[in-house]
């Protein structure tokens, strides 16, 4: 049994130590919002927050996730109200949408460390997330917009 906190809930999962967090979330905890894209840390589709840091769930073994605080897209906000999720909808960012949970979790990681990112900051933070459909320019716009909303909320 591996104990960890998923979206605020203390959870026990009966899984192998070496099982990547992604499969524990998807197949065992039945949280399918985090996506499989490569399984090798190359695409970012599986991005979740581990103790607040954007991390690739597909290369995080459960032995490491044990005892940690995991946030997935499902627990990222109540009903999609986070400024990033709102901005994503405002700019109709998604095409197929498959990469977008990972994109949003990476973007959230960026804004946490850098509330007012430049284009270059965004490019750097987001270049680990592939979008095969090609939504990059809209993602950039949406992150700028969300950053503005969030700093407005604070001030």
């Amino acid at each position: 049994m591996i104990k960890l906190t998923i979206n605020g809930k203390l959870t026990e999962l009966d899984v192998a130590d070496d099982m990547p967090l992604l499969w524990a979330l998807r197949d065992v905890a039945k949280l399918t919002g985090s996506k499989y894209g490569c399984g090798k840390g190359l695409c970012g589709a599986c991005t979740v927050h581990i103790d607040g840091q954007a991390s690739r769930a597909c290369i995080t073994p459960m032995s490491y996730a044990q005892g940690k605080n995991i946030t997935t897209i499902e627990g990222f906000s109540d009903d999609g109200e986070h400024a990033l999720q709102q901005a994503w909808q405002k700019f109709n960012v998604a095409q197929c949408g498959y990469c977008q949970p990972g994109q949003i979790m990476s973007a959230a990681g960026l804004l946490k460390n850098n509330p007012n990112p430049s284009d270059a900051d965004i490019d750097q933070a987001m270049s680990g997330n592939i979008c095969r459909c090609g939504t990059y320019p809209r993602i950039r716009e949406a992150i700028h917009h969300a950053a503005k909303t969030l700093s407005g909320e604070k001030s």
């Binding site: 499969w23 985090s34 990059y136």
Partner: protein, 748 residues
Amino acid sequence: MIKKITRRNFLQGVGLSAGGLTLGMQFSVANAATIEDKSFAPDVFVSIADNGQVTIISHRSEMGQGIRSSLPLLVADELEADWNRVTVEQGLGDTKYGSQNTDGSRSVRKNYIKLKQAGATARTMLQQAAAKIWSVPVSEVTIYNHQAKHKSKGMLDFKDLVKVAATLDVPSKDNLTLKTEAQHRYVGKDNMSLLDGKDIVTGRAMYGFDTELPGMKYAVIARPPVVYGKVKSYDDSETLKVPGVIKTVELPALTPPVMFKMLGGVAVIAENTWAAIKGREALKIVWEHGKNASYSTHDHEAVFIKALDDPKETPRVRGDFDAVKKTAHQIISADYHVAGLAHATMEPPAATAQIDGDIVNVWACTQTPQGAQQNVMGTLQMAKEDMANIKINVTLLGGGFGRKSKPDFVAEAAFLAKQTGLPIKVQWTREDEIKHGYYHSPSYQKLEATLDENNAVTGWYHAMVNHPIMSTFNPMAKTAGMVDLGLGDVMYDIPNIKIALGETETFMRIGWVRSVTNINNVFAAGSFTDELASARKLNPKDNLLQLIGKDQHVDLNKDKYAYSNYGENIKDYPADTARLKKVIELVAEKSGWDAKSQKNGLPKGHGIGIAAHRSFLSYVAIVVVVSTEGNKVKIEDIHMAADIGKVVNPDRVRSQLEGAAMFGASIAFYGEVTAKDGVVEQNNFNDYQLVRMHQIPKIHTYLVDSDEKPTGIGEPGVPPFAPALCNALFNATGERYRRLPLKSLTLV
């Protein structure tokens, strides 16, 4: 922005949370809120419940092109429905909807009128119902936003009308009055939100990978590394020791032709994906690779080049190119190559099957639910009469690009469910997707043009050889057969044209990838056009416009050419040079072409390039601006203009153009699948790379305000990108880039 409020409960984690749900209910997992109450259902595409809630069927697959956010608008608009009281339901695979095959950029083209008629049918009957209730002439009733109105009687909501409407005769389609474009409230508007937008950003959207059923097991498959390879023997003793592995199942070996049949191999069935993957790693399989193990992409280049010099077919011949070549003042010639390509959909193929007595339930990210149905029928050797027992629920697709119109993965799930008696989800890993694709074939092309003493182009020759798609269906096929798609359908007004095809055998599975052979044909033709501009000392845009020539509908059925025109009559959808020139002029104007393409119009090391093409009956022109420093390339600017006739959802059209540019950029800089000894050498995004965020600037898109018949946009943005880019590289560096991918350059 017009926002759609969806009332959909997703079956997220059915096994945990929806205990009361029976599988027989045939829910589409992607869109679970089937409204059972269909009191008034005048058409297969639309029904209205007692409470006035409208259900519209989306019968085409959503793979990012925005079809679920587009087609239902046509019905809702004609119906005068309040968009907030509309539920969109994903249609099961069923011939009653007509073709559901979502490829060829034709969903809007094929359904525009049909869906308007569906909405107008319901609206007309609601209007008649109100007239009946009020005892007034029908002509005095107007329908607007879910309500009937009458000047003295007042208003009635749709919910007050459904019972009476359901008793009326369905009017004939010929007697319907359809709205004009000006009357549309949703269609053609730029402010429609995405139907699945909220589900996507909250992680609730359900893709093929996300299906969960009670008692479901997970499968990954070790497929033969070489196509037509077989399992000679295998040892699963280590596999069965992996905790969570349940069993292994051998799949039948593939026999010709490839079609959409399973590749064969050994499946590992497990309690979770990880156990299945580990179990697969532990398998010891002795393969018999078969004759395709003799194939290596590198070595086959010589065969291709020989075939290119000795073409076997000349499917379009205008005038006499060979004669004009003998007397030409100048002959320009160049060879081009585009490597093999994989689809690399962000979501690899996945399907879930569950057998319930005679019923086969499938959930799959398929572009072709009816094709999947047939494929399952064949795989399970079911009788044709029992086809309706195969229920194909279409989930959302995490990208399609043509890969998911090949339902081999659906056959695997059905086969394994049948063999094991368990609900089975088959998931392809990224490596599976890259190594066992239906590839866009590598291609080799030779172009020649003849100039007279006035630098007028008198002859055009374009020869191409590739592994033909037809080989997937007929192992004997050696030439492309179909010569359209940017090869034969060149629209230039040149008196002598000769199109030629070489032939070769095929050793891999070949399929269609977004825009198909337009990718390579237009790369070559669009680049060569620019080479002619240099030879003729003309500005590339002027050269392009001159080659296209006067306003006309090019009769592509002349010149001994059997042109398919994407399945449409060329009289209905002509090859219109005026429309092609218009997108060129539009993109040139918006991008500032005239100034920037002058000598010193851009800073040193910068370059600008242009290309244009009609494909899938749509017209697209692209301008790309690059900067270069040594072997480093930066894409500075991308401008795209399109004429696709009437536009249903402009925002989704723009997003398709944007996506097409990035698809094109990935092809240009990275796309390359190679095989050695019959085995594909690439594995994952490390060696099959795609463009990333920092490499792509803002993209400018322009839509021609057009009254022409609506056509599609899923694919037409792709073909002109790579030639526009390489023409810009030439403008920047003076170097011609005739082979894709651009291995000597680094995109920064």
